[in-house]
């Protein structure tokens, strides 16, 4: 018997014998089947760049704009869930109210990530001090993360801005530590990790920043919701 982290009800996690005997690590269920159903996975037809779920498999309008700005060099992003009301409520509870336990819920959504260099999008130091944890690192805590980026302090949160303000936001990241030994190695693949892909502004900025250190690396991104 387990207690659902969202509704607090008791439930029996489904037993999957194949998975049980696969001897591979898996996430123990933290949500009851009812709460699990609240979250809608993205549909099969998606924008080839940002992963938005849509009617046709063509480049979405946002990405067409990015294509112009970045001269065809699009960031390929993969996401799992719709950013709908249920996901919004979960994120509000997790990020705004600081319910650290919910990192387990978000972590339970994660698929196995590829063996690339995993770079989390950083939280501003002010927010981190206030919450007592880093929202992204807490979710992806089971993976070996390389926090190569730091946020320039005093810029406020993306979530508090309008769409237009987000798009016009300035580059908010700097490389963490220039003497980090990793910069001497040749890195071929980097995966940026974030919780929400809204306009793409944050992730494109993060990529710009990493490009300077790893000019030849292939950089993609992964977010939980789109």
């Amino acid at each position: 018997m387990r207690v659902c982290l969202l509704c607090g009800n008791c439930f029996l996690p489904p037993v999957d014998l194949v998975r049980l005997f696969s001897f591979q690590a898996f996430h123990e269920a933290v949500l009851c089947p009812h709460c699990q159903k609240l979250f809608q996975p993205l549909g099969p037809i998606r924008c080839p760049a940002c992963g938005r779920s849509q009617q046709t498999a063509q480049l979405c309008r946002d990405c067409q704009r990015w294509e112009q700005i970045y001269d065809g060099d699009l960031l390929v992003n993969c996401s799992l869930y719709h950013y709908d009301q249920a996901m919004h409520d979960l994120m509000v509870q997790y990020k705004r109210y600081g319910d650290y336990q919910l990192a387990q819920v978000l972590a339970s959504f994660l698929p196995p990530l590829p063996n690339w260099l995993l770079v989390p999008i950083p939280t501003s130091p002010e927010h981190q001090a206030k919450r007592g944890f880093d929202t992204i690192e807490a979710i992806f805590g089971n993976y070996a993360l390389k926090p190569l980026l730091t946020k320039i302090p005093g810029q406020g949160a993306q979530g508090m801005r309008s769409r237009q303000e987000r798009l016009e936001a300035e580059q908010g990241f700097v490389l963490a530590d220039v003497n980090y030994p990793i910069y001497n190695r040749s890195i071929s693949k980097i995966l940026l990790l974030d919780d929400i892909y809204t306009t793409g502004r944050t992730l494109y900025h993060a990529r710009d920043c990493l490009r300077r250190a790893f000019p030849s690396a292939k950089i993609k991104s992964f977010t939980i919701c789109r």
Binding site: Q93, G98, D99
Partner: protein, 423 residues
């Protein structure tokens, strides 16, 4: 600092500001959150614990303290704070007098009054007795809608008194008004603040069955203060306290117009309410009867997701093609305007979830509850929904229809309660 009299708030341990009237307690003590009483604690990466229950009003964690301002607010005495000119009926006067007596005797009281009894007016003399002494009073309810409806009425009835109104949709932090209206969640921000605390609709979600809100309510009232509970359907925990003699009970069985409650009709449906997007003919018959009689109709459905299907089915029926209808639910951004349009008679049918089960009055309205056997309807919800009908003195009857596939305990209990109050 006077603003914060009777309040409790979070501060960091190193916060050294001290006010002589304030006490500091560790925010989490003896495995319990001291603000909400919950034991639902979880760990932060720092190995400090935090409370998951009352997160919404600011996270309580182990390295913090709760600062409580224990000063007593002093208000001028005012021999006649009540500016309301209306008159109470004979039944209302009796209850109202008993409430004032119980208040002076320091007795916690439960008022069990039928829906549409005019509970708010009965409170006026009680509140006046408290405010006249220069004491501090609060009226709390679990739902924001109820508070929003009460606020203008109380502000008008006590025109010379400063009235505060606080809930999650208002940004303002509570101040120190002599009369405060607030949701039961906001009570968690107070500590030993009120001489009189009235909690309306104690049987309703989320107050009923939430130990955190009960804890908050107990803490918000002064040790020598008096609590008054109002309900149309007392919950079992309150009934138990009445039996133990901890709470006095006052019962009012008649609506303000002196008429009995409309008794719901029960109807067994063997076929689904909707079949391939078409209304069940019997259901259509009932709807058309209400419309022909010229009554606006509230159609209760158990789930938000079912609203569009019913709207489409009604629109698809040729006999209802001319009707204006809408659906409304808690997360609907146009909720207030739709309810207002229905109240003005611009909509004939309003399909709704339980958000309109209580605290709202529509003239001449009739009610159909679809799937009254659904788990979402507690006995108290059903009694409340039935209580929307026949509230006007010139139209004290009307149709309440419980549609069900399976007769449930809750339906039976609701019917019994209504019939009991009608005796």
């Amino acid at each position: 600092m006077d603003e914060l009299i009777g309040r409790q708030w979070l501060a960091n341990q190193e916060d050294i500001t001290t006010i002589s009237t304030c006490e500091k307690v560790p925010a989490i003590q003896a495995d319990r959150c001291q603000r909400c009483g919950s034991q639902l604690l979880a760990y932060l990466p720092s190995r400090k614990r935090y409370c998951r229950s009352c997160l919404g009003i600011g996270r309580v964690s182990e390295d913090q303290v709760l600062v409580r301002n224990l000063a007593t607010a002093v208000f001028p005495k005012n021999p006649a704070p009540l500016t309301w000119q209306g008159k109470l009926t004979k039944h209302q006067t009796k209850i109202s007098q008993a409430l004032v007596n119980n208040y002076h005797a320091g007795k916690t009281t439960l008022v069990h009054a039928v829906t549409g009894a005019g509970k708010t007016e009965m409170l006026f003399p009680l509140l006046a007795a408290c405010l006249a002494d220069g004491k501090r009073a609060a009226v709390a309810a679990p739902r924001i809608d109820v508070i929003n409806e009460l606020y203008p009425r109380l502000a008008e009835a006590f025109a010379q008194i400063k009235v505060g109104c606080y809930h999650g949709k208002r940004e303002a932090e509570p101040g120190c008004e002599q009369l405060t209206l607030l949701t039961t969640h906001q009570l968690l921000k107070f500590y030993r603040a009120f001489d009189l605390l009235i909690i309306d609709e104690v049987d309703s979600f989320p107050y009923a069955g939430d130990p955190m809100l009960h804890f908050g309510a107990k803490n918000a009232v002064k040790t020598a203060g008096v609590t008054v509970y109002l309900t149309a359907t007392p919950t079992s925990d309150l009934l138990a306290e009445i039996n133990q003699g901890k709470v006095a009970k006052l019962t009012l069985k008649r609506r303000f117009h002196g008429q009995k409650l409309p008794v719901p009709r029960e109807k067994l449906f063997l076929r689904p309410y909707l079949n391939h997007g078409r209304l069940n003919p019997q259901l259509a018959e009932h709807i058309s009867r209400a419309i022909k009689a010229g009554h606006p109709l509230l159609l209760f459905v158990p789930k938000i997701t079912e609203i569009p299907a019913y709207l489409a089915a009604i629109k698809a029926d040729p006999q209802f093609a001319q009707l204006k209808l809408a659906g409304v639910h808690a997360a609907d951004p146009e909720r207030l305007s739709k309810v207002e349009a229905f109240r003005r008679g611009e909509l004939e049918i309003l399909v709704t979830t339980t958000i309109l089960e209580r605290g709202v009055t529509f003239k001449h309205v009739w009610v159909i509850i679809l799937a009254a056997d659904d788990r979402i309807y507690s006995a108290s919800s059903l009694v409340q929904i039935a209580g929307r009908v026949g509230r006007a003195s010139d139209d004290p009857t009307g149709l309440v229809l419980f549609c069900y596939h399976r007769y449930t305990h809750n339906i039976r209990q609701a019917m019994q309660e209504i019939q009991e109050m009608n005796q």
